[in-house]
């Protein structure tokens, strides 16, 4: 299964024209590190699953409508088309944009995150404000060896999704060590 997926999406994920080249300078000194490229596959996969789930409705309509009521099939095909378009958008295009903009950097005294699809957000979390860090991964993430890093302050929660699992564990250790050091300074 894994090999099949690794072989397949390579071609499936490429948009004609290559990567979107659109640099956004939110604030100078953008964070440097990027997410794991396997994120594309994981997001593609979960987008596809969503697509299948959504597809149930037009399929149901197309099979059931002619049997019980006298409803035109056009709407069913229209809905199916919309679902295909949405899935294309959600599984292929959005992940590429997301990956393109996603940056993070863990410094000694703060965490700097940039992310977004339309609205690009740049977030700054001082180390002394970090309350706890978790890593978590669902079944799809696990399949691709990925994990999400969740950083909580007393007032907010921030995520770095789709890091390799080793990197996530490493960062978790690093952040909690740094957060503890800064705690003593307060």
């Amino acid at each position: 299964m894994r090999q099949l997926l690794q072989g397949l999406p390579k071609t499936a994920l490429i948009i004609p024209g290559g990567e979107v080249d659109m640099e956004v300078n939110m604030i100078e000194a953008e964070p440097k590190e990027r997410l794991d490229r396997r994120a594309l596959k994981a997001w593609f996969f979960s987008g596809l699953i969503w697509g299948f789930i959504l597809m149930i409705f037009p399929v149901l309509y197309l099979t059931a409508a002619p049997l019980f009521w006298d409803l035109p099939a056009v709407y069913g095909w229209l809905a199916a088309g919309l679902v295909v378009l949405y899935t294309l958008w959600d599984a292929v295009i959005v992940p590429r944009i997301k990956l393109h903009f996603w940056r993070y950097e863990i410094r000694d005294d703060e965490i700097d995150i940039r992310h977004g699809v339309f609205i690009i957000r740049r977030t700054l979390i001082p180390m002394i404000r970090v309350q706890h860090v978790d890593t978590e991964h669902g079944p799809i993430m696990r399949l691709f060896g990925l994990a999400t890093l969740r950083i909580s302050t007393a007032a907010s929660e921030h995520r770095i999704p789709a890091l390799s699992r080793e990197r996530a564990a490493e960062l978790r250790g690093e952040i909690s060590a740094l957060a503890r050091v800064s705690d003593e300074d307060v």
Partner: protein, 508 residues
């Protein structure tokens, strides 16, 4: 307090019963129903009273070496120890009965304790309440003294004993006079050292209190309630009244309707103003070292002590109705322990003259500074604010053009655009070395004062349109109960966003 507490629970039980019985006199005569009611009241009292006495008898507390120990429970025993360092606030309240009996209720809140109080003593003498408060909140040096012999009964000290204890501090008072005199005067505290003297204190005056009530905007809610009651009472108003109104006062039916609505509006405004005045009467704010003490209430008196390290942000709240009078309210965002009944918002002062704010803060909270000037939004942000105000309306107005008289909706754009403009005018930010200030309006205008070390995280964001115009949205998270809160100003200049970012960043 036992009989009173029993009576209260009795009333809660009986009220629905009484309603049912007295509303339907059809199924039996009224006197028989009353008899059943009285019988069940006595029966319930026989059950409730001993239960109350028992739970009182088993509720004990003890203060010792930095810990407060509580034991409670008749059948299921519960013991709890609260560490002094963990105590966030000690609140003292006095309801009308408690004041008649010289008692007070006391709530101890700890960090992260959820919405329920860790400890709630419903009836201790006022002096004892202050003693507990002092031992839990006073300077740390005091905790080192020998364990206090405080193993006393807490809930339900008898009224007589309460009066005796009260007598030690102030002359015993009785009856209605006590209601007026035994207000929570912090000076009455027994164990209070000289370090407890207020450094600055503000007390609301009666005219200010009236303006506060009149402009609190509470009458909108009350108006709907009164309207509902009125519509229910409509059939009981005699026709003669309406005829008189129509003949003598107004000549048209429409005039009558307008008059009735106006009268109801005035009535709800009057009632809500008075309710506000009673609720916040004698509102006093005091600063003592690193603590703020807030006291308010006429019938039920409340006292709240706020340690400054729990204060996360200061909000100057200019209500729409208060702005024309140049008045505002001062609200605090507090970490942990906010009470649910106040929507987790801690009112620091209900009404202040906006032009006296700077002076007020300098005396009460010199840690915060109200900026005189702000960095306003750049001119190119105006069209975005206008668009944001008008766009939802356009979604409605445009389809309306296909129906007759749909064009009548077009003038609605004027107030919408005006609203957008005033939101644009309100938006601003300001930095000084320790504090970030955000100014913005939704309907009411807010100025949020945040110290750098109270901002939990900071974000700058931009949509493609904002990027195109060189604008950014700035957002800051502060800790506030029950969870965090984010304040934001949209469409600030990119340079100002950089400025804020660099100020917050520890990377120099």
């Amino acid at each position: 307090m036992i009989p009173l507490a029993s009576l209260k629970s009795l009333l809660i039980f009986l009220a629905p019963m009484a309603l049912v019985f007295l509303q339907n006199p059809g199924n039996g005569n009224l006197s028989r129903n009353l008899l059943i009611l009285a019988g069940s009241a006595v029966a319930l009292l026989v059950v409730i009273l001993p239960l109350q006495v028992l739970s009182w008898a088993f509720y004990t507390y003890r203060y010792e070496a930095g810990y407060l120990h509580i034991k409670s429970g008749v059948i299921f025993k519960k013991e709890r120890s609260i560490k002094r360092e963990r105590v966030q606030t000690v609140n003292i309240r006095r309801g009308i009965f408690q004041r008649l009996l010289g008692l007070a209720s006391l709530q101890v809140e700890t960090a992260g304790g959820g919405s329920e109080s860790e400890l709630s003593l419903t009836a201790v003498t006022l002096g004892e309440a202050y003693n507990i408060k002092e031992s839990l909140e006073g300077p740390a040096a005091e905790t080192d003294r020998a364990p206090e012999e405080n193993a006393e009964k807490a809930a339900g000290e008898s009224a007589a004993e309460g009066a005796v204890r009260e007598g030690k501090e102030a002359a015993p008072r009785a009856g209605l006079k006590a209601l007026i005199d035994t207000a929570l005067k912090p000076g009455e505290q027994t164990g209070a050292g000289e370090d407890n003297q207020a450094e600055a204190a503000y007390r609301i005056t009666i005219p200010e209190l009236f303006i506060a009530g009149a402009t609190s905007g509470g009458f909108f809610v009350l108006f709907s309630v009164i309207g509902l009651i009125f519509s229910q009472a409509l059939p009981f108003i005699p026709d003669a009244f309406w005829e008189h109104l129509l003949d003598r006062v107004t000549s048209t039916a429409a005039g009558t309707v307008v008059l009735v609505v106006l009268v109801l509006l005035f009535l709800s405004w009057l009632i809500s103003s008075l309710a506000f005045m009673v609720q916040y009467a004698n509102f006093t704010l005091q600063r003592r070292q690193d603590r703020l003490q807030v006291t308010w209430g006429l019938i039920e008196q409340k006292q709240l002590t706020l340690n400054l390290n729990r204060l996360q942000a200061l909000v100057v709240h200019e209500g729409l109705l208060r702005q024309p009078f140049g008045r505002c309210a001062l609200v605090a965002e507090v970490a942990g322990g906010g009470s649910r009944e106040q929507n987790y918002v801690t009112l620091l002062f209900p009404l202040l003259r906006t032009d006296e704010l700077t002076h007020f803060l300098a005396r009460i909270l010199p840690e915060y500074r109200l900026p005189d000037t702000f960095v306003p939004l750049p001119g190119r942000a105006l069209r975005r604010y206008m668009f944001r105000a008008a766009a939802p309306l356009l979604l409605i107005i445009v389809p309306l053009q296909w129906i007759p008289y749909g064009w009548l909706s077009i003038p609605l754009l004027i107030p919408a655009l005006f609203w957008g403009y005033s939101r644009y005018r309100a938006g601003a930010t300001f930095l000084d070395d320790r504090q970030m200030t955000m100014k913005f309006r939704f309907v009411n205008r807010f100025r949020v004062l945040m110290l750098r070390n109270c901002i939990q995280a900071f974000q700058v964001s931009a949509s493609p349109f904002q990027r195109w115009r060189g604008l950014r949205t700035a957002r800051a998270w502060v800790l506030s109960s029950p969870s965090g809160k984010a304040f934001q100003v949209a469409d600030i200049d990119i340079e100002e966003a950089r400025h804020l970012w660099d100020w917050y960043s520890r990377q120099k």
